[in-house]
C-alpha cells in the first residue's frame, strides 16, 4: 500500500467520503464487472455495486493495513453477490410454492416455462448470449470461479484469498466449473441446430 493510499485510508476511516472515493476508485469498474457477470442484469449490478461500496465504507475501520485492499474489496463484493443470488433463489422458490387462494378453493400457481423454445434460439441466439446464459445457469459458486478466473483474470492465489479457500480447492473448483460450463454449452449445441454450430465456428468456438 502506497503512502498516499495509507493517508487516504486514514481519512476514510474518519468518515471522509472524498478520501474514501479516491481510495476505492480504481476498484469500482472491476467490482461492477464481477457483479454484472454474477447477476446478469446491468441495472441490478449497478445497484448492487453501490451496495458493495457502502458496505466497504461502513466497515473500512475493520480493514487491517497488512492485508491487501484489493483482495478485501473483492471478497466483500463476491460475498454480496453470493448473498444476493441466494436471496433471489429463495424468493423464486417461495414464489413457486406459494398457494393462490382463488374463489373456487386453493390451487397451485402455474408457472410459465420461460426457457426459450428451440425456434427462438434459432432465431436470435448469438454465441455471446449462449455463453452468458450458460454461465448464469451455473451454481453460484462455480459461476463465481468462472467470473473471477476467466472473466476477470485473477490468479489462483488471488482467488484463494478472495474466497478464503486454499489454492488446492481453488484449482479443483476452477476445473470443475469449466468442465460444467463446457457440458452446458455442448448440450446447447446438440439441441439447437447446425446454424448455432456454424455461428460458433464463425466466432471462434468450434
Amino acid at each position: 500500500m502506497s503512502e498516499n493510499e495509507k493517508y487516504l485510508l486514514q481519512l476514510a476511516r474518519k468518515g471522509d467520503v472524498e478520501a474514501f472515493e479516491q481510495l476505492v476508485d480504481k476498484f469500482q469498474k472491476k467490482v461492477f464487472n464481477i457483479t454484472l457477470r454474477m447477476i446478469g442484469n446491468y441495472d441490478d449490478a449497478s445497484e448492487l455495486t453501490q451496495e458493495v461500496f457502502i458496505k466497504i465504507y461502513r466497515s473500512i475501520g475493520s480493514f487491517k493495513e497488512e492485508a491487501q485492499l484489493s483482495t478485501w474489496i473483492y471478497r466483500i463484493a463476491t460475498n454480496v453477490c453470493l448473498d444476493e443470488i441466494r436471496k433471489r433463489k429463495i424468493k423464486w422458490i417461495r414464489s413457486l410454492d406459494e398457494e393462490i387462494h382463488g374463489e373456487d378453493g386453493e390451487y397451485l400457481m402455474q408457472i410459465e416455462d420461460s426457457s426459450p423454445t428451440p425456434d427462438k434460439v434459432l432465431e436470435n441466439k448469438s454465441l455471446k448470449e449462449a455463453v452468458n446464459e450458460a454461465v448464469e445457469s451455473l451454481p453460484e459458486k462455480q459461476r463465481l470461479i468462472i467470473v473471477l478466473r476467466d472473466m476477470q483474470g485473477f490468479s489462483y492465489e488471488e482467488i484463494s484469498s478472495i474466497i478464503n479457500k486454499p489454492v488446492g480447492t481453488v484449482k479443483s473448483r476452477i476445473n470443475r466449473a469449466r468442465l460444467q460450463l463446457k457440458e452446458i454449452l455442448l448440450k446447447k449445441r446438440e439441441l439447437f441446430c447446425e446454424d448455432f454450430v456454424i455461428d460458433n465456428r464463425k466466432e471462434g468456438l468450434k
Partner: protein, 428 residues
C-alpha cells in the same frame, strides 16, 4: 499410473500455466497420446479465449454521483449518532440529576393519589366490608395494570400514564358509572376456609391505609349481600363453558381426545393453570343443565378466592390443584369459540354420538371476578406507591409480585372470553 480422469483435472492448471515440473511433463505426454483429453484441452482454451476477449463493461454514467450521495447520507447518519453519544457522555451527570428529579416528582404525585384513594376503603365494626370501586370504562383496560410490572425507574413516561388511570377512577367516584359491591365476612366464609385469609389480606390493606386516613364513611348499602350480584356487564368478560361425558370408550382414549382437541386449536388446561376449571365435584354431576350452571358458578368463585388470597398465601392454588390431579380421566380444554361446534361434531364422529352426553355451552360471567381483581390490583398499586415513597424495597418487590400474579389471573379471564372451556370426562 495416472488415469485419464486425473489428467482431466489438470487441464485447467495447464491452460493457466500453473502446472510445473514433473506434473507438466506427464500431462504433456498424456495429451499427445489421448485424443479425448486433447479435445477437452482445446475446448477449454477456446472457452477461456472467448472470455478473455470479452470487453469489460464501463461503469454506468450516473454510478459515481449516485454512490457519492449514498455515501454522504451514510456519513451523516454515522456522525450524527456518534455526536449524540458524545453529548450523552458529556452531560451524563446532568442527565442523571434531571432523571432523579423527575422520579421524585412522579413519586410525589402518586403519593397524593394514595391519599385520596384511601377514602374509598371502609371498615365496619364486626364484618369487614370490602368495598370495591371501578369505573366500568376502565375495567377492561389492562394498560394501567401492565405498567406496574415494569421496573420502577425504567420508564417515567409509563408511570405518568398509570397515574392518570387512577385519577380518572377517583374523579368519577359517586357518579352513576361507578358501581359498588362488596363481600362481607359471611359471604366469603361460604367459599371454603379461605375467607380468613381474605380478611387478613383485606385488613392489611386497610390497616396501612387507615394509618394515613382520617375520613371514614359508613355505607350500609354495601353490606347488602344481594348487591354482590354484579351490575356491571362487560361483554368481554363472558366465558363459555361446557362439559362432555364420554362413556364406554375402551382403553386409553385420552390421547385421541387430546389430538382431536389440539387439531381444533385447543389449549389444554392443566391443573396449575386452572382458574375456571371445574372441580371434581362438578365432574361427577351429569349433564343436567341447571346443576351444571350452579357448579360452574362455584367454580368461578375460585379466581376471586385465590385472587384475594394471593397477597397472604401464594400457594393457595395448590389445594385446587391436588383435587384435579387425582381425577386422571378428566381433561379440560380451551377451544376457540368459533371452532367449538366442529370440535364437538368430530368427537361425536370419533366416539359415537350414543356414547356422549353433552351439555349446552353455558355463559359464565366473569365480570365480577374481573372487577374484583381490578380493585385488588388498584389497592395493591396504591400500596406499591406508598411503599415506593417510603423506599421499602423488600415490600415493594413483594407487592409487585402480588400485582403481577393478580394481573396474570386477570389476563387469563380476559383471554378466556374467546374460548369455550370444555371439560371432558371419560366414564368406563
Amino acid at each position: 499410473m495416472k488415469k485419464c480422469q486425473d489428467f482431466k483435472e489438470m487441464i485447467s492448471e495447464y491452460v493457466d500455466d500453473e502446472l510445473k515440473g514433473d506434473s507438466l511433463h506427464e500431462f504433456e505426454e498424456h495429451i499427445n497420446k489421448c485424443s479425448e483429453c486433447r479435445k477437452d484441452l482445446e475446448d477449454f482454451k477456446t472457452l477461456i479465449a472467448y472470455f478473455r476477449n470479452e470487453p469489460a463493461e464501463d461503469l454506468p454514467i450516473d454510478f459515481k454521483d449516485s454512490l457519492h450521495k449514498k455515501l454522504l447520507a451514510e456519513s451523516d447518519s454515522n456522525t450524527g449518532s456518534s455526536q449524540r453519544v458524545k453529548f450523552i457522555r458529556k452531560y451524563m451527570p446532568v442527565c442523571a440529576v434531571a432523571a432523579s428529579l423527575i422520579m421524585v416528582f412522579v413519586f410525589w404525585i402518586n403519593f397524593k393519589d394514595v391519599f385520596r384513594m384511601g377514602s374509598s376503603m371502609e371498615k365496619t365494626d364486626s364484618s369487614l366490608v370490602y368495598q370495591l370501586e371501578k369505573d366500568s370504562a376502565t375495567a377492561g383496560d389492562s394498560d394501567g395494570a401492565m405498567n406496574y410490572s415494569m421496573e420502577r425507574n425504567e420508564s417515567d413516561l409509563k408511570y405518568g400514564k398509570s397515574y392518570k388511570n387512577t385519577t380518572e377512577g377517583i374523579e368519577i367516584e359517586g357518579s352513576d358509572k361507578v358501581e359498588k359491591f362488596s363481600y362481607d365476612k359471611e359471604k366469603t366464609k361460604k367459599n371454603s376456609g379461605q375467607s380468613v385469609q381474605i380478611n387478613k389480606s383485606a385488613k392489611s390493606v386497610q390497616n396501612t391505609i387507615d394509618n394515613k386516613k382520617t375520613t371514614s364513611e359508613q355505607s350500609p348499602s354495601t353490606k347488602d349481600i344481594d348487591r354482590k350480584a354484579t351490575k356491571i356487564k362487560l361483554s368481554n368478560a363472558i366465558a363459555k363453558t361446557a362439559s362432555v361425558v364420554i362413556s364406554d370408550v375402551g382403553t386409553n382414549r385420552v390421547d385421541d381426545i387430546r389430538n382431536i382437541a389440539l387439531s381444533y386449536g385447543a389449549v389444554e388446561k392443566f391443573a396449575d393453570a386452572a382458574l375456571i376449571v371445574t372441580t371434581s365435584d362438578n365432574a361427577n354431576v351429569p349433564v343436567s343443565e341447571n346443576i351444571e350452571v350452579t357448579s360452574q358458578k362455584t367454580a368461578i368463585q375460585q379466581p376471586i378466592l385465590s385472587g384475594a388470597d394471593e397477597p397472604v398465601a401464594n400457594d393457595s392454588n395448590s389445594s385446587v390443584k391436588s383435587k384435579e390431579v387425582s381425577d386422571s380421566t378428566q381433561l379440560s380444554f380451551n377451544i376457540p369459540n368459533d371452532r367449538y361446534s366442529k370440535f364437538i361434531e368430530k368427537i361425536k364422529e370419533r366416539f359415537g354420538a350414543a356414547n356422549i352426553i353433552l351439555s349446552t355451552p353455558v355463559d359464565v360471567d366473569n365480570t365480577e371476578a374481573l372487577n374484583s381483581l381490578d380493585s385488588q390490583i388498584d389497592i395493591l398499586k396504591t400500596q406499591l406507591n406508598k411503599v415506593g415513597e417510603a423506599r421499602d424495597i423488600s415490600n415493594h418487590e413483594s407487592i409487585k409480585t402480588q400485582i403481577e400474579e393478580l394481573e396474570k389471573q386477570r389476563n387469563e379471564i380476559i383471554s378466556n372470553t374467546n374460548y369455550t372451556t370444555v371439560t371432558i370426562k371419560i366414564v368406563k
